[in-house]
Amino acid sequence: MSTIYILWIRQVKRYLRSKSRIIGSLMQPILFLIALGYGFGSIYQKAGEGNYIEFLAPGIIGMSIIFTSVFSGMEVIWDRQFGFLKETLVAPVSRFNIMLGRTLGGATVATVQGLVVFIIAIIVGFRFDNFLAVPILVLVMLLTALLFTAIGTIIASFLEDMQGFHLVVSFLIMPLFFLSGALFPFQEAPRAIQIFAMFNPLSYGVDAMRGLLTNQYYFGLGTDLIVLFLVTFVFLSIGSYSFSKIQA
């Protein structure tokens, strides 16, 4: 337990100490909320879909979570380059616990980041009425964050250095984000996009968050939670396997 805790607190401390990372990673969601939220707001309204910020905000929370958590998972690469990974790999602690501590730490950071974006969205004009849903919202955020931190860890065990990060952003994070229902509703989207969305785990996270806050579901909360739990479990298992195979 104490070993998981010390790995967790390390991730959190590193995040809190890197002010540039905090500010940098908040700028993008703010920009999306303002530019897209206000830019498309009137068109969305004219199309008879209602308030766009209300639709968009949960998607942007999802975006900030996926970016932060994949990056946190990939921090393993930095630890390897700076030599610190060796220190954890020779310790008499099971690789599973190391991976779990790190992943929980990364997921905590991403969840906190998501909550900050949530607050920013409220400042920008997002309104919701279902306050009782907030605890479940946090759970959904945490599950989504765990899932993508694990994915980041899996990627890290294949990549040599952070230079591959842009590749990951372009070929994984961006497609998953744009086709997750974060920006537009699936109901009237082409069939191909609907099918892709079904296989995109982020869709379920965004759907659950949006549903909880504004009661607009595409899959339904039950489906969202079951899929998130299952997929998170699968990726945590794969993540701990690939972490156990890392050589320093």
Binding site: Y5, G83, F84, K86, E87, V90, E160, Q247
Partner: protein
């Protein structure tokens, strides 16, 4: 009783043989020096002994356990000071020590007591709450050693621990290690380029060159064997006078590249 048994150990990176069929035993409580020119295979051997790298062929038994089959049991048996940087720069000196102590299950009271003792010994106590990224190279090295000594394992690996340390700190470190060796029977396995250090502290020495152990015995044995007066001369006699810079010859460059790749 041997605490480390190595049989026909081999490590091949693609087509480069970094460690070539070496065998040796280290007795419990022994202070053992592993010497060799740059790129001879010292660090690769240590990596295999400490579960950081897989082995291509052969067998290792450390404290009764096989690192391939029982890595966790092996990890419980040793401590290591790495040759290269292994601190978290974004944490303070104290946090780095705490992290290590918790991972190695050193209980809180003992951890705090030793931390103070070791940081004072390494002249870092005043800087304990500073982030490591603000430290100079020498301070980081001292902190790595202090951290390595925080838990008291059965076998201690020190990969060029004194590189870049001033004689005073070297002296403190060795006094601490000798004391640990005497009081707790800790086995010490170290590499160094300071022949004097090996002569002074090691009971037994093995010399590795191009992946093979070419000589072993006490410092006196090696001197007698080569008919030289100092370990330095014996070492040069055995390994030749040609400089093995790690980026020197083509083979070394290849080896460097492969080592890097395997990191």
């Amino acid at each position: 009783m041997s605490v480390i048994e190595v049989r026909n150990l081999t490590k091949v990176f693609d087509d480069i043989t970094a460690v070539d069929d070496i065998s040796f035993d280290i007795e419990e409580g022994e202070i053992f020096a592993f010497l060799g020119p740059n790129g001879a295979g010292k660090s690769t051997t240590i990596k295999m002994l400490t579960t950081l790298t897989s082995l291509t062929k052969g067998q290792i038994i450390l404290n009764g356990f096989d690192p391939v089959k029982n890595p966790n049991e092996v990890r419980k048996s040793f401590g290591i000071v790495f040759q290269d940087h292994s601190l978290d720069d974004e944490l303070t000196a104290r946090e780095n020590m705490e992290f290590h102590g918790v991972l190695y299950g050193v209980d809180k009271k003992l951890r705090r007591k030793r931390m103070e003792e070791l940081l004072k010994m390494m002249d870092l106590w005043d800087r304990k709450d500073d982030l490591v990224k603000k430290f100079s190279g020498g301070m980081k090295r001292r902190l790595e050693i202090a951290r390595g000594l925080l838990h008291h394992p059965k076998v201690f690996f020190l990969d060029e621990p004194t590189l870049g340390l001033d004689p005073q700190t070297r002296n403190h470190m060795w006094n601490y290690l000798k004391d640990l060796n005497k009081r707790e029977g800790t086995t010490i396995f170290f590499t160094t380029h300071y022949m004097q250090e090996a002569e002074l502290y090691a009971q037994r020495i093995a010399i590795i060159d191009q992946g093979k152990i070419i000589a072993s015995g006490s410092a006196d044995d090696l001197k007698n064997q080569t008919k030289t007066d100092s370990l330095e001369d014996a070492f040069l006699e055995l390994t030749g006078k040609e400089i093995r810079e790690e980026v020197g010859s083509g083979l070394d460059r290849m080896r460097m590249f492969h080592n890097k790749k395997s990191k």
